[in-house]
């Protein structure tokens, strides 16, 4: 499979000296034209990875041996170069559409603006693209929705607008940071369906950041499991049942399932040893 991103030993550090806090430690992964899931509990560094890939962590130090994106090494790319990549080639869907849409701009204009950022001076075209995108994310009557303000649309519609906004420059990689957490279950399926179609039809690489193991298991091709800033295990989604790391096993054991016995669920254990750098663990 063609590789879109190849990340080696990515670390993100907040602060420096003795008070330094490593939020992400030596994370390596590759991304092809597939759905890659990153799961972990809150604070495990999964969202930080997403932002580190776009170098949008102004207060942190990002280091990596390599952060290759289709021939460009992001870790060494200038800010000017990053401006061209952000949005146009790698974009990110944020968690809650209520906060990620500007409340005083019409949603259509916001989508058109996303297009205009990378295509100077084509207002008419931007508007048409925006309408086209609204249709692509299955919004009925895009002409009407184009003129609405964010408070006039529902959460699910907002998230689809957000996806349209991030898709309009036609990126090759999309990082979805818990795109469905703020949505109810029925809308969630719709949004996932749209993301799924993007991977299959347009050949986009999707990084799905989530804390919902079941969702990732059913939706993604491969899964990275994170704990305390490290990837403790990486495996195909179908093989989660045969996970080897104790943490992954603990996570799976703690999931209730329909038709299972009624014995109390296992309590997730967290062991100090998992926090040690992985190289050491393996050695």
């Amino acid at each position: 499979m063609e590789t879109l991103m190849d990340v080696r030993n990515l670390s993100v550090t907040y602060g420096r000296g003795a008070g330094a806090m490593q939020a992400v430690r030596n994370v390596s992964f590759t991304l092809g034209r597939e759905r890659l899931g990153i799961v972990g509990e809150s604070g495990s560094g999964k969202s930080t990875i997403g932002r580190a890939l776009l170098k949008l962590l102004p207060t942190a130090t990002i280091t990596a041996d390599r952060m290759d994106f289709m021939g460009t090494d992001l870790i060494r790319a200038s800010e000017r170069r990053m401006l061209d990549i952000r949005g146009a080639r790698i974009s990110m869907i944020l968690q809650d559409p209520k906060f990620s849409l500007n409340p005083v701009q019409r949603v259509g204009d916001q989508i058109a603006e996303a297009y205009a950022v990378h295509h100077r001076g084509a207002r008419r075209e931007a508007r048409e693209k925006a309408l086209e995108m609204l249709e692509a994310v299955q919004i009925r009557d895009p002409e009407r929705v184009y003129r609405l303000y964010p408070h006039e649309i529902s959460g699910g519609m907002g998230q689809r607008v957000m996806i349209a906004m991030m898709l309009v420059p036609e990126p090759e990689v999309i990082i979805a940071d818990e795109p469905t957490s703020a949505l109810d279950v029925t809308v969630r399926m719709k949004v996932l369906g749209i993301l799924d179609a993007l991977v299959r039809e347009r050949g986009i690489g999707l990084i799905m950041i989530s804390h919902d193991l079941n969702l990732v298991r059913n939706f993604c091709d491969r899964v990275l499991i994170m704990y305390a800033g490290q990837v403790v295990e990486a495996l195909p989604a179908g093989e989660l049942a045969h996970a080897r790391h104790d943490y992954t096993r603990g996570l799976i054991a703690a999931q209730p399932h329909i038709g299972g016995d009624r014995a109390p669920l296992a309590v997730l254990r967290r062991e100090e040893s998992w926090k040690r750098p992985l190289a050491e663990v393996q050695a």
Partner: protein
């Protein structure tokens, strides 16, 4: 779809114009709905009408001296009486509205963009840049504005243009502070993060995301500070540092009338009343605008 037929797609620019007119209409209706801001609205409208149609409304040439008719009390021939060289006070006040309006418009046009630019840049970039800009702002704020504008006019030389420059130089800091405070809360919002994720440059984010959000509070603050601007301009005129004598500036009229005040009260009372009415009107309209534009800060209305 049927809904498309209900909302025929207008060319976007026309739709934008229409919605801007709608928006303005909403604000005016809001202002008219409250007695005190309605008063403000009426006074400012009268001021604008006076300034635009001054030659039609004034009964005489404001510079025409008539030494036969010196210090006449108000009468049908001279509504507000005549001054020490026989000029018609009413006509002078009518023409004076042009000067007042010029001062207000120019100060607003200079102060708004400067304050907005300094505030949003400082707030958005933060760090040492913010520190430097805000300390400069603090220096300006630490002087009383009238004293500072006096100093500037004294340095630049007396005259209407210099008075406008001096007033503008002293009234941008509060706007800058306000814009910075707004920017600080805005720069952490998710939609600014979303704009960054789209690859928007800092300039684009400030212009497209932050400035529009700062506009309402800056406009309110600007309107409220217009009252101070009028008073400062009149004060400078009164001290002889603003508009120079033949010009019918209200403050300057009071300064000259002061000498004859005991016998000829109309020389001081009418320009004074005009200054009072206009500055009060701006204050009231500013309060009304705050209610209309910034519902979060709406104060209890009776």
């Amino acid at each position: 779809m049927t809904a498309v037929a209900m909302h025929p797609p207008l060319p976007s620019r026309l739709a934008g114009l229409r919605s801007a007119a709608d928006y303005l209409g909403t604000i005016v209706r809001h202002l008219a709905g409250n007695a005190s801001s309605l008063f403000g609205l009426v006074v400012i409208s009268v001021l604008i009408v006076l300034a635009v149609f001054a030659p039609l409304i004034a009964t005489q040439d404001p510079y025409l001296q008539n030494l036969q008719d010196v210090l006449q009390p108000p009468s049908w021939a001279h509504f507000f009486g005549t001054d020490e060289v026989g000029r018609d006070v009413f006509s002078r006040i009518v023409y004076g509205s042009r000067i007042t309006l010029t001062i207000i418009a120019l100060v607003a046009v200079i102060v708004g963009p400067i304050g907005l630019a300094v505030g949003t840049l400082a707030g958005y970039f933060g760090g040492w840049f913010d520190t430097v800009l805000m300390r400069i702002t603090d220096i300006f704020l630490s002087f009383p504005s009238l004293i500072l504008s006096l100093a500037f006019v004294a340095a630049l030389g007396a005259g209407l243009e210099n008075a406008i420059v001096a007033i503008a130089l002293t009234s941008w800091p509060p706007i800058a502070r306000l814009a910075r405070a707004e920017t600080l809360t805005l720069r952490g919002t998710d939609y600014v993060a979303a704009a960054k994720l789209q690859g928007a440059s800092s300039a684009r984010i400030i212009w497209k995301q932050i400035v529009p959000m700062c506009m309402p509070s800056v406009l309110v603050r600007l309107t409220l500070s217009m009252a101070t601007v009028i008073l400062t301009a009149a004060g400078l005129g009164f001290l002889g540092l603003g508009a120079q004598p033949p010009l019918p500036e209200w403050g300057a009229m009071i300064a000259i009338g002061r000498r004859y005040m005991l016998e000829s009260w109309w020389l001081v009372a009418f320009p004074g009343g005009a200054i009072l009415a206009v500055s009060l009107a701006f204050n009231l309209i500013g309060d009304g605008l705050r209610d209309a534009l910034d519902p979060k800060q709406r104060r209890g209305r009776h």
